[in-house]
């Protein structure tokens, strides 16, 4: 049986040797290119998938929130948490959107997939 020596270690993007690749960013070869492609793709994804409901408009004032998520070794997005954000309705929708993100090509260290965390700001204005 192979035991993972450190199953819970999570890296941040400046630590990993190879940045994760967002679906559609396969052309991006350098880490900088992958980073900026991922950023703009995430922006586009959230912009088109975040649903502003009537209820939100009625009860929320809008805010900028920060959502953290982990890209697992298999590329799935897990452990989504609100880092900063007061509004429950907005937080709920932000988490839903994060959880629905497409699978990534995971970050790598020494050629092996590692877990990596990412913090995404979402600016919700009405």
């Amino acid at each position: 049986m192979i035991v993972d020596p450190d199953p819970i270690e999570v890296f941040t993007f400046t630590q990993v040797e190879s940045m994760p690749v967002y679906a559609g960013c396969e052309e991006a070869l350098t880490n900088d290119q992958r980073y900026t492609c991922m950023n703009s793709q995430l922006m586009a994804y959230v912009s088109s998938n975040f649903e502003v409901t009537e209820r939100m408009i009625q009860f929320s004032r809008g805010e900028k929130l920060f959502v953290e998520f982990i890209i697992e070794k298999n590329g799935e997005v897990r452990n989504t948490t609100i880092v900063r954000g007061e509004d429950e309705l907005i937080a709920e929708e932000a988490l839903r959107v994060e959880k629905s993100l497409p699978r990534f090509t995971p970050a790598k260290m020494n050629g092996k997939p590692v877990r990596m965390s990412y913090i995404l700001p979402i600016n919700v204005k009405f």
Binding site: Q15, G62, K64
Partner: protein
């Protein structure tokens, strides 16, 4: 290898503009504050962002010290708020695992130089906030 092991990582990105109403399809265009180190960059905002990240990260690598008495590795999430003049107005800890680590992360961030140009929203100077994870790792 202490410096390398004290990897501080800056993890910043632009805030996401969301158009709330279908009648307002225009998304805001936001830019980050510009440090003197990055003022030469003429390219698009993504290059400016990479430069900004790197500048903050390098600053942390030079500035962060392992706090005496800190025994555990971990991560502190620090929020930076630049005001509309570009001044670093607030440095807050959003999540921490140890008070010593938290204080050191905040101290190191407060020594950042002020950017020479503020961030903007739709071309106007505006406050900008971001979250930077600061890692304390030592084997």
């Amino acid at each position: 290898m202490l410096i390398r092991s004290l990897l501080a990582s800056a993890f910043l990105s632009l805030s996401l503009p969301l158009a709330a109403q279908a009648t307002d399809p225009l998304h805001e265009t936001q830019t980050l504050p510009v440090f003197e180190h990055c003022v030469h960059i003429q390219g698009d905002q993504s290059e400016q962002q990479v430069c900004f990240n790197r500048f903050v990260m390098n600053h942390l690598i030079n500035e962060l010290k392992w706090p005496e008495g800190l025994t555990k590795n971990g991560k502190v999430l620090v929020e930076l708020i630049f005001d509309a003049t570009g001044h670093l107005a607030e440095v807050n800890s959003l999540r921490s695992y140890d008070d010593l680590a938290k204080e050191e992360a905040l101290r190191a961030m407060r020594t950042l130089p002020d950017p020479i140009r503020p961030g903007t929203v739709d071309g106007e100077a505006a406050p900008v906030s971001m979250v930077v994870p600061v890692m304390f790792t030592r084997n």
